[in-house]
């Protein structure tokens, strides 16, 4: 228990705070599994949050708002995809420039809509809500975005692990030339993955302005989240479930950081706020070292060791960052 928050409340808070991040990180996972790094996340999240709020406000429809967020994300996906897959430009350069551009574009275009009341997604009760014990009631009364995030974890896990399309996508990320040899169209698959991923990132952004931190303003409160999303993909070893767990861990750090203020009154509260970011990124070092060790275990003949290895093993798709040029 952190501060005065009861355990169920803490769980509920963490779940709610992690939902948009999960959606964003899963979107990036999708793109990266196909071999394309979309580095523009940080700006796109804001841009989508702005677009979602503006549309939701104008139409008074949350659904249209979320769609607008997704489309705004997809629009940036088109740029990232076209530049890196078809023009073969550096994915990092394109993503970084786009990230700064989208952020400022969001601030610029969103200015007239800042700090006004708009539609908000409320937490909804489950049908069997009243029959649940009260702690479960607390945990389970969540906005739809939380269920969406959890559903997406399952869907994307299934997609990668069991579906034909997911296998094709992964194969392109590993070795586009071989995929081409087997009759796939790597460029098309990468483009679809980037667009789909960017759509999810947009939905994640919309979840900020329509649910978790309702409203638009500068700052919006989602600044820096895109970078965390990118780090989470590595942290999660490109595995949707681990990525989601990472997002939850980050949300926990953020929620509990407020309570830590009471526990350590000598330390300025600002320090707790910055802490999760470096913590997240320094776990990457840990990942690096544990990966080299667990890679061996991952292939061990003992089932248990294989499982343990899989938990910590992380390896980028082999073709990550390079786009395929047909001869």
């Amino acid at each position: 228990m952190i501060g005065e928050l009861s355990l169920p409340m803490l769980i509920a808070s963490v779940l709610a705070a992690s939902a948009p991040l999960i959606i964003i990180a899963l979107g990036e996972t999708l793109a990266e599994k196909s071999g394309v790094i979309n580095l523009s996340l940080d700006g796109v999240v804001l841009f989508a949050a702005m677009a979602a709020f503006v549309v939701a406000k104008e139409t008074d429809s949350l659904l249209l708002g979320f769609l607008a967020g997704g489309c705004a994300g997809m629009l940036t996906g088109v740029i990232v995809g076209y530049f890196s897959i078809y023009l073969h430009l550096s994915q990092v350069a394109v993503g970084f420039a786009l990230s700064l551009l989208c952020r400022d574009l969001a601030y610029f275009l969103g200015n007239p809509y800042s700090r006004i009341q708009g539609p908000t997604m409320l937490s909804s009760k489950l049908p069997f809500y009243d029959s649940l014990p009260s702690s479960l009631q607390i945990i389970l009364s969540q906005p739809l975005t939380v269920w969406l995030a959890l559903l997406l974890v399952a869907i994307i896990y299934y997609f990668f692990s069991f579906s034909k399309a997911g296998l094709n996508l992964r194969s392109v990320g590993e070795n586009p030339a071989a995929s081409f040899a087997r009759g796939l169209n790597p460029a098309k698959i990468q483009m679809l993955a980037v667009l789909g991923g960017a759509f999810l990132v947009g939905i994640g952004g919309a979840a900020y302005s329509l649910s978790l931190k309702p409203g638009w303003g500068r700052p919006q409160g989602a600044e820096g989240i895109g970078w965390i999303g990118l780090a989470l993909v590595i942290f999660g070893g490109w595995n949707p479930i681990r990525v989601a767990l990472g997002a939850t861990l980050f949300a926990f750090l953020q929620v509990s950081g407020i309570g830590l203020q009471d526990l350590f009154p000598g330390i300025p509260s600002q320090v707790f706020q910055t802490a999760p970011f470096p913590l997240m990124i320094f776990t990457l070092i840990f990942m690096h070292f544990s990966t080299s060790r667990s890679r061996k275990q991952g292939y061990s003949s003992s089932r248990l060791q294989r499982l343990a290895g899989k938990l910590f093993m992380s390896r980028a798709p082999k073709g990550l960052g390079q786009s395929y040029r047909q001869e």
Binding site: L122, P219, Q273
Partner: protein, 371 residues
């Protein structure tokens, strides 16, 4: 057509937050508009979001240079954080007058002659806010969303607490031990991601931990928005925003009311002085006009009731305000202890303005960090 005619008076306003923040900056902005409407020939030029997070690399002297080049004769800086910049600019532009809101540089004999300070006695507003909160809380737990820790914010939080305790013990006749008043400081006047605590999250934590009224001491309206969200989800909670008369509009049904500043009296005082060549360096701390508290021309501080404040509480609040006005209720009167149990005021002793202005720490009974 000639915008520089003799009786045009241009004044520049530097606002720390957005002009439409439904809070501190908007209160200043509206006062400036009011000046434009009421003082013939006056014209406001302004720039908002003057803070290093929103406008990285932009300094106060730079903005002042620009406003002066556009003809401004008076510069108003509305943030505590502009202290150094305003002073630097005042030295660079000795023939331009400066008002720094909320500081006390003018009390310092070395400070430039063209720099005055203006502040409102929000202590009274906060007392009323605390009163309203204590009268409505069901759980006896009041949360205070604090900005950063300094003398001003400590005295405001303390005033709020005193108002709440008065309502709890003197009006409701309950045990003071059952009232919990907790402050969570976010680190700045508004959210800066990755730097301050996220006020949305802090307000959520308050409500999730059983606090049913959250009073906002920050310039933006997150507490009210979260309260509204929770209320729509069925929780019986409410919030009190801060600074701006219209703050409740963003979520009227969850709003108990708002203690607000009205800067028009202060602004017009200084502008008239400048026009009459009566300027002098001064430190002005303006309070409510108790007889006509909601009159924008006269009263610098007031409290506006919100939809969520029950009718009977409204009546009792009016009585309370009256008591504050005729000094039959004096809350900064002993016995009062500091948070560390050391004595602030002895039995019967009343604090001086200076003691209140420079309140060193929070009071006994308040929960939260003093430094």
């Amino acid at each position: 057509q000639s915008h520089a005619s003799a009786d045009t008076f241009i004044f520049g306003l530097l606002m720390v937050g957005p002009a439409n923040d439904h809070g501190w900056s908007q209160a200043h902005f509206e006062a400036g508009k009011e000046i434009e409407r009421n003082i013939p020939g006056s014209k406001m030029i302004y720039i908002d979001k003057v803070n290093p997070a929103d406008r990285p690399g932009v300094t106060i002297p730079f903005l002042v240079d620009d406003l002066v080049s556009k003809g401004a004769k008076l510069i108003i800086g509305n943030s505590d954080d502009m202290t150094d910049g305003i002073r630097e600019a005042a030295i660079l532009h000795p023939d331009i007058k400066f008002i720094h809101i909320s500081g006390d540089d003018a009390l310092n004999p070395d400070s430039p002659e063209n720099l005055s300070n203006l502040m409102g006695k929000m202590e009274y507003g906060q007392m009323m806010a605390g009163f309203a909160a204590a009268m409505t809380t069901k759980t006896g737990k009041i949360g205070y969303l604090g900005p950063l820790i300094n003398d001003e914010t400590k005295r405001l939080a303390a005033s709020c607490f005193l108002g709440a305790r008065y309502a709890w013990t003197e009006v409701l006749k309950k045990d003071p031990a059952d009232l919990s008043f907790k402050i969570s400081w976010i680190g700045f006047w508004f959210n800066i991601p990755g730097v301050t605590s996220d006020p949305t999250q802090v307000a959520k934590n308050f409500f999730d931990s059983g606090y049913d009224v959250v009073i906002s001491g920050i310039d933006t309206t997150e507490a009210l928005i979260v309260a509204d969200q929770k209320k729509k989800e069925g929780a019986d909670v409410a919030a009190i925003p801060y600074d701006y008369e219209g703050a409740c509009e963003i979520a009227p049904d969850a709003c108990l009311g708002v203690p607000y500043f009205n800067w028009y009296p202060g602004y017009s005082y200084f502008i008239n002085n400048i026009k009459n060549n009566d300027w002098k360096k001064e430190w002005l701390w303006l309070g409510p006009n108790w007889k006509d508290m909601n009159n924008t021309k006269k009263s610098s501080i007031s409290f506006k009731n919100g939809n969520a404040l029950p009718g009977d509480v409204q009546t009792k609040l009016a009585v309370f305000a009256k008591g504050l006005g005729n000094e039959s209720i004096s809350l900064f009167t002993g016995p009062l202890n500091f948070q560390d149990k050391s004595i602030f005021l002895k039995e019967g002793e009343t604090a001086t303005e200076k003691q209140i202005w420079n309140l060193p720490q929070l009071l006994e009974g308040m929960d939260g960090s003093s430094k």
